[in-house]
Structure formats: C-alpha cells, structure tokens
Symmetry: C2
Subunit: 320 residues, 2 copies
C-alpha cells in the first residue's frame, strides 16, 4: 500500500476505502456510481449531516483514526435514532492533506464501517478531496418503519423526561485527557468512542414518546431546544441522575461537580425522550425530569430542581 | 446582521441560513430537528455526496458565494439526475473560519436554494462548523419514480453514446479566468455556474438508457468509468461534437485545441447516456460515439476516432 494519500491518488484511495465495505439488505446500489440507491420501505427517508474537523472535534494525538470513524458515524446515526428511525445508510466526505497516511484513512473507514454495523446501517457512498485540514463529513439515512417521526416539538405539560445511554462520561473523559492523563480508562474510552443506544430511538417512538432528542451538546442545552420547540418548561431533578462512584472520584480529583458533566457534557449521544406520565418505561430508561406549562415566554426553558441553570449551557461552534 | 460568523455564533447562523428556505411537497420535516424527513414515494432513495474546498474547487476572488452555492448544489443534483432520478432534497455542511462574513454564508445558501429550485429539490438540513478553510459539503437525495436506476455498468456493444448539456464550456471559462481575463462572458459564466440538464436524467431512463453518467471530471475520464464498469470499449467521434465558433476563437487565442476542452473539461455537468442504437432521441441529445466489444482487457477503455486518447484524461484530487 502507498504511504500517503498523495502517493496513492484519489481513485486508488476510493478503491482502498470501499474494498472492504459490507452490504446490507437495504443497499440496492453501493459505492462506485454517480449515486447510491438505498431501500426506503417506509416511503419516507430520514436524513441528517454532521461534520467533524481536526483540532475542533478530534485530535489525532488523542484519538485513533478508528475511534474518529466510530465517533463521526455514531453522532450521525444517533440523530437518525433520535427521530424514532432505524439507521439504514451513511455517506462519507473525507477531506485531508496529501501527506495524510493511507492507513489513517483506511482505519477511519474501518471505524465508520464497524459503527454502522452496530447501528444496522451500511456505507453506501462518499467523496475524498484534498484540503489543508482533516475533516470528516457524514450524512446518515434512516427508515421510520411506519412510525411518525418524533420531533422536538411534541412535549406537553405533565409529560415526563427520561434518558437512556450514557451522560457526562465523554465530558469526564475529556477533562481527564486535557489534563494529560489517560485513565480512568472507561471515561477516556467513552470520550473516544461513544455508544449511542440506537435501538432506544425506534423503541421510544413505539412507546409513544411525544418528543425526542440526541444529546450531543449537553442535556440542558439540547433539552432547551425541546423546551423552545414545544413551548414548555422542562425541570430536571438533579437527584435522579446516576453518578457512578468513579465519576464522583474524578470530579473530586479535578475540582468539578460531576453533575456539571451530566447536565452539560455532550458527545455521549444519550437519547432523551419525553413520554406521557403513565408510560411504562423499560428499565434502561431513567426518568430525570418533567414538563410544565410555561406561564410566560421567559419560562420556556430548562430548569434544574426548579431553578435556572446559570452556567454555560452547551457548545457553540463559532463563539467558543 | 452581525458581520462575521464568529460574532453571529452557530445558532444565529443556522437561523439566518434556514429562515428563507422554501419547502416543497417532498419535505415532511425541514431543518431544525435532529434530522429531516423527506418523501421517498418510490420506496428507494438515491443519495450522493460531494465536497468543495476553497482554493481547490473554488476561489472567493473568482466566484461569488452565490455562484459557489449554485455550483456545489448543481454537481450533487446532477449526480442524482444521472442515475435517472429526480432530485428531492439536499443537506449542507458548511465549514468556515470565524472571520467569514455572514453575507458570504447567506449568499452561498441563496445560491444553493436557487439551484435546488431549478432541480425541483429543497434544502432540508445541514451543519455549520468552524475550520481554517472554507468548504461546502452537500448530500443530495432523489426519487426514482418507479424506474430502475441507470448505472455505469449497462453499456452493451452496438449501443450509441449521446450527450446533452454543455461540454467544455467550464474548462474554456477557467482557461480565460486563469489568464486574467473576464470574458467572453458566456464561458466565464459557465465556469462559475454550470447548468446541468436535470430533466434529461429521468428522461433518458424513460427512453431506455442502458448506462448513464454525469460529466464532472471530463468526458473521456468519466466515460472511462462506464467502459470499465460495463467491460466495453467506447469510441468517441471528434467530428460529432458541437464546437461553438466563440470557443474555437478562444482556443486559437490561447493556443488550445477546443476539442481538448470538450473531451477533458469537467464541471459543466453535462449528462452522457448510452442507448440502444435504435432509440429515437429527442433533439437535445447529440450522438457522439458508440460502444464496441472489447476483444482484450486492454481494450476496455475510451478511444477517440479509433485511437487511444493519450493526454491526461481527467482530474485526480490528490495527485494533481
């Protein structure tokens, strides 16, 4: 194998990247033509796109190419699941300098492929271009299987707010990494490779979820979008979160209240859904708040234990 | 309006970009949620992704943001059409430095929106991220309307090769621009803003096209993919191309044979399709070659007037 993308060339790279891709039943035409053809048996297709840029969303010295691939795929596939859909396919645009080792690109694709496998999707197409900075742009597609999409706009006063997946683990891992440590391993791993609960999205839709969102920017920030879209107030109950002992230990060591990680840490891609209060939720869901009528427009927001949450609620990609 | 993306912030920018987007009948859920929902009445969805990077695919001093938007959308929508599908929706990932003027991003979106309108599609979602270099990554979706997708692999000996749209105009325009001129205007415009014949894609499929491709890297290069996928030899007849007098004049002025532009110039996004020889083609199609059996593997290629075409056949994004 040639050592760099510049030596291998565009078409060699595409061949290298697509050679080992498996196909699923949904893939009617895979990579290699002008466009791919994917089954959309529902008669609607769910689509989302997200871009990761080196230095902002990942660092090559902190994450392997494989982990960047897992993470890039996960954050898009989680968005599909959070609509109540099952991921079916993914397209990749990779930008990189000619000096990038071919192995980096191949391992990235291995990570994307493996995360797709977890989610039940397949890579069906892509593009590779030369750029100064490495970036990975992914578009994911999904199928609703006859269910109505669960948006951010359906939360109603009286509903309960529940989460499934991990919360604050990635943020704790990032804190550890940014201080030069590489353990505790579980948290560092969670930062490098999130594990979104893909199946919980369609399951929540089937359980009658009224609103749903993927937690990518932090629970308070993301639920803020639900509150705004639904015109409601959402109150989180800090005592109902599960703070693992090890997370509490890290918090103590670095002087951070772990509740901060749970409420504002993004990138774990937990799924947060709003349900009618009488919904019988499977054990993997944890009720962490409830929905209230907002008496005034200023009440359309997220509170924690009845009070405004006044630290920075999330991540703005241009101002931070 | 704030002057730069950094001043406006991520969420302000998203609001600015999505505020003026129209919706089409196919858009069941537009921008603003975890993912969009688009009608896929055929039960299959056609999907493609392409990325444009500043300095490689466009220059801000040569093209307006509006034209970059038109071009970025066009090259993706043309890929959908070249499968025989009708474009339905488009997703955008915009990467830019914080210093980028907000007006540039807004005008880019205007261009994407207007090109979508021409093609019958709508912008349904996207992502904005901060990066050192401006890049525009687009994913386009389309619907086959009950037709089989027309791939690169179906060309058979005896078929004829036909094109519709513009060929070599963008390349002639680029030559003019790169020598510091801004006219003839028609060619400079063609380079800045291609006009793919979107409707010709589904029409060709309905006429029984056996293979089809969007001409983005040059006719010889792109037909090379058809020859390879179909296992045939394709011979182009240089005398059958329409070389406008003004293109011949530019060629003479700059010392380039305009046939070179027609055979190797990309980015016009003409559509090239292969048809059974007895197909009655509408006037907008021009037959420019035919398909032959390849006696040996080395004959699986494109020839021009029976001879190998021995100058650089196209564009490789990493080696050139």
């Amino acid at each position: 194998m040639q050592a760099t993308l510049g030596e291998l060339g565009e078409f060699g790279l595409i061949q290298e990247l697509t050679a080992r891709l498996p196909r699923t039943a949904a893939v009617q035409l895979g990579p290699g033509d002008d466009a791919a053809v994917v089954a959309a048996p529902d008669g609607r297709v769910v689509a989302t796109t997200d871009m990761l840029v080196e230095g902002r969303h990942f660092r090559r010295d902190w994450s392997t190419a494989y982990d960047v691939g897992r993470k890039a795929a996960a954050q898009n596939l989680a968005d599909i699941a959070a609509m109540g859909a099952s991921p079916t396919a993914l397209l990749l645009a990779l930008a990189a300098p000619a000096e990038l080792p071919v192995t980096w690109a191949v391992e990235l694709m291995d990570g994307i492929r493996d995360e797709c496998h977890v989610a039940g999707a397949a890579v069906v197409g892509g593009d590779v271009v030369r750029a100064e900075q490495v970036s990975v742009t992914i578009t994911a597609l999904g199928d609703l299987g006859g269910r109505a999409p669960v948006t951010r706009a359906g939360a109603r006063p009286g509903d309960v707010v529940a989460v499934t997946g991990w919360l604050g683990w990635s943020a704790a891992g990032l804190t550890v990494l940014s201080r030069g440590f590489r353990s505790p391993r579980a948290f560092v791993e969670a930062h490098r490779r999130p594990e979104p609960p893909y199946h919980a999205g369609p399951a929540a839709a089937a359980l009658g979820a009224t609103a749903m969102i993927d937690i990518s920017d932090g629970l308070v920030a993301d639920l803020g979008h639900v509150a705004a879209a639904s015109g409601v107030q959402i109150d989180l109950h800090s005592g109902q979160f599960d703070i693992p002992a090890q997370m509490a230990d890290i918090g103590q060591a670095v002087g951070v209240d772990p509740v901060q990680w749970v409420l504002t840490g993004g990138e774990d891609h937990a799924i947060c859904a709003v349900f009618p209060a009488d919904t019988v939720l499977p054990a993997r869901w944890r009720v962490v708040g409830d929905v209230h009528k907002a008496p005034a427009p200023s009440d359309v927001r997220v509170t924690v234990d009845g009070h405004p949450w006044d630290t920075t609620p999330g991540w703005d990609h241009f101002t931070s």
